[in-house]
Symmetry: C2
Subunit: 417 residues, 2 copies
């Protein structure tokens, strides 16, 4: 493939106009939107309006007059359109970890009992999910069993209370079959809880179509909601009366009557806890709207087609390198990122530092417990161009071949996130 072919793909890309929604760093190819999404152009003026006008001038009146009090539901309803959920089924609030605590607690309350005290998850799941599950397993007298690959579905016996998985793996980019695994969990009498952190806004998700039970996800990756943006939580309508333990006043049926006793709100408001983070929710709303802007152009299906084409191009252009592709090549098993493992004689940290110095921003994830060290590249079809994928692959190749990464300025380990 020649670079001109990549440019031709961009010229023919009907989604190309969506890129203008973003304030992108000049002279850089940003392939880390799976870690922190870029800044929507609308976010800076919107945040300024919330701060200076709604807070500064409206003050306490803005809870009603500017609609602050409805932000968790308003933003949630927009996220719902990206994940196969109905209006009223999603609220934006708190962090991913806290929302996971809410729904896993609710799932265990509903389904953990004598003879059914196992939580099944994936060993390579994002650690915060495992940490929260460990805390709740101890509280409920349950066992957390961590498996990989086919062993996960095979483990779904009558003693399993909850199957808790992340839809797209944060390291490998491998994607689970949500519908099949949810059905398998249900056949075993277990509930299915999905973490959508690396799939919301990245791949089509159909929670109601899959019949999933609970889901949570992140606002600051593919949703472009800003650093530490609020997360979201979804609950299937069949669990409308499920109760979560973080019973703050915003989850009360009548928060402003200041009653002494807790009475959960009807609907998803019961999954709220404290006062909504207004400024952060306003930024998140701008991010979510960058994805909804794709709806007239084919929505998540069109974004998915471009995402697969981008990752396929990058996979093909890096195939000859002395790195091992960890991300599945089968499109149905691939999220919107590509992970390349480094052999023992290549310092992946230094390679990424050298690549960043050349303007390609991916990230490095050290392997723990025998896992390989990875170079991760996130592809975000809202703003990543085919020529970006092409150039990034060739700059990576040149970084490896030139051995520039062996210079001390790149091999020196600073604190990394």
């Amino acid at each position: 493939m020649a670079r001109t072919q990549a440019l031709a793909l961009d010229a023919a890309d009907t989604l190309a106009p969506l890129r203008a929604q973003f304030a992108l760093p000049e002279g850089e190819i940003y392939l880390d939107g799976n870690s922190l999404g870029v800044l929507p152009r609308a976010a800076a003026p919107r945040v300024a309006e919330v701060v200076s006008q709604e807070w500064g001038h409206g003050l306490i009146r803005s809870w009603n007059q500017a609609g602050w009090i409805d932000l968790p539901q308003r933003v949630g309803d927009q996220i719902a359109r990206l994940i196969g959920a109905a209006p009223g089924e999603v609220v934006a609030a708190d962090s991913t970890s806290i929302n996971l605590y809410k729904v896993l607690h609710a799932a265990l309350t509903a389904n953990a009992r004598d003879g059914r005290r196992v939580i099944v998850s994936e060993r390579s799941n994002f650690p915060t999910d495992l940490y929260i599950a460990q805390s709740l397993a101890a509280q409920f007298g349950c066992t957390l069993e961590l498996l990989e690959g086919e062993a996960i579905a095979q483990r779904l016996g009558s003693d399993v209370a909850v199957l808790m998985l992340t839809h797209v793996n944060y390291r490998s980019g491998a994607m689970h079959d949500m519908a099949a695994l949810t059905a398998a969990a249900h056949r075993a009498g277990a509930l299915a809880l999905w973490d959508l952190c690396h799939s919301v806004g990245a791949v089509p998700v159909d929670l109601n179509g899959a019949g999933a039970d609970f889901a949570i996800g992140c606002g600051y990756k593919y949703l472009n909601g800003g650093p530490g943006a609020p997360a979201f939580v979804w609950v299937h309508a069949r669990h409308a009366t499920a109760q979560q333990p973080l019973t703050g006043w915003m989850g009360h049926a009548h928060p402003f009557t200041f009653e002494t006793g807790y009475q959960p709100a009807a609907g998803m408001a019961r999954f709220l806890c404290g006062t909504p983070p207004v400024v952060a929710l306003a930024a998140l709303e701008c991010g979510v709207q960058t994805l909804l802007a794709a709806e007239p152009l084919g929505g998540m299906a069109a974004l998915r087609a471009k995402s697969l084409a981008l990752t396929q191009l990058f996979i093909e252009q890096t195939r000859a390198l002395p790195l091992t592709l960890v991300t599945p090549e089968a499109p149905a098993q691939r999220g919107s990122q590509v992970a390349l493992a480094c052999p023992a004689d290549i310092d992946g940290y230094a390679v990424m530092q050298a690549l960043i110095a050349r303007g390609v921003i991916g990230d490095f994830r050290a392997g723990a417990g025998g896992e390989p060290h990875l170079l991760r590249f996130g592809f975000t079809p809202l703003y990543t161009r085919f020529v970006d994928a092409f150039d990034a692959a060739h700059l990576l190749a040149d970084t490896l071949h030139s051995r520039v990464w062996q210079e001390p300025r790149f091999t020196h380990k600073a604190a990394v996130t």
Copy 2:
């Protein structure tokens, strides 16, 4: 007292220059800083810098280069200076309700056992505290006992695990004696947990001096951190190994090694959970710094002296009105707000609406369970002037005497927060 005397007090006020830190609404007297603090002038440019520069240009690099990863501790250390805590003892994160869940769970884990299964609190405590306590009481097989006044201290027997109180009452503005009640709790073998929502930044607080066990508080009231600002949590050094249940990755000893098993961080980082809300923490930092700016002028002690003078002036100027003072007159028992109860023939909601129409912004809190309906007025010595307190009192008097509040435009009940 004549208005000129109030103006003279302002002219002699050494704290008066602090008012210039704020973007105050023109033509209004804002007495609702106990619900939502005003906008610090520094917040709008700082938030814009975080959004456009640190997020927009720095992107993922800003976690290290802009110090995002340290924000919970950095802001926490600044809050610590306002509440008698040492550096490293406070982190800013999550909401008040969620932080309460963390520390009450930790307190019950440490101290609830057979024969000691009572949580004592105040019936008129802010409801979210009671709701969280109800959730945890059920989980730990404990009983939540709600009392008022002297009965609280009298109840502290050998069966009490935790005394959980809000330092300054959100309705009445009455302030507990933190040191005395903490000591009484300890004599009974109970732990003392304090909610500082209405005292941090409003009155001097000395957590270590009082020997308290746990504390939490709000960022968006007297700290001026913005709507839904992150809250904070403090734990006494003697509980350094206490564990909380919201075991997200930011509380891990080594979050970026992505280990499978949870290992709590040394120190207060273990009270963190998810990814820090960067934009909101940046705004909160600006708010906290408006209080630290008082340090060269006498700090919280000087602010407290002015606060008491402001509330005393307002109490005296409203004494002849057909309203009942609910806030204690004894300075040691008074926070930084004044609450006036309405008799049955005065519609407090309508009075407040009419008063707001005349430019005095306080708020109305309906009474639940036989409590009186209240007009609440918060006095924030950083920006409230003596003439504001004087004018507010006389505009309230005129609103009542003129009976303008009886007009339908004021008596009509809209949704209120």
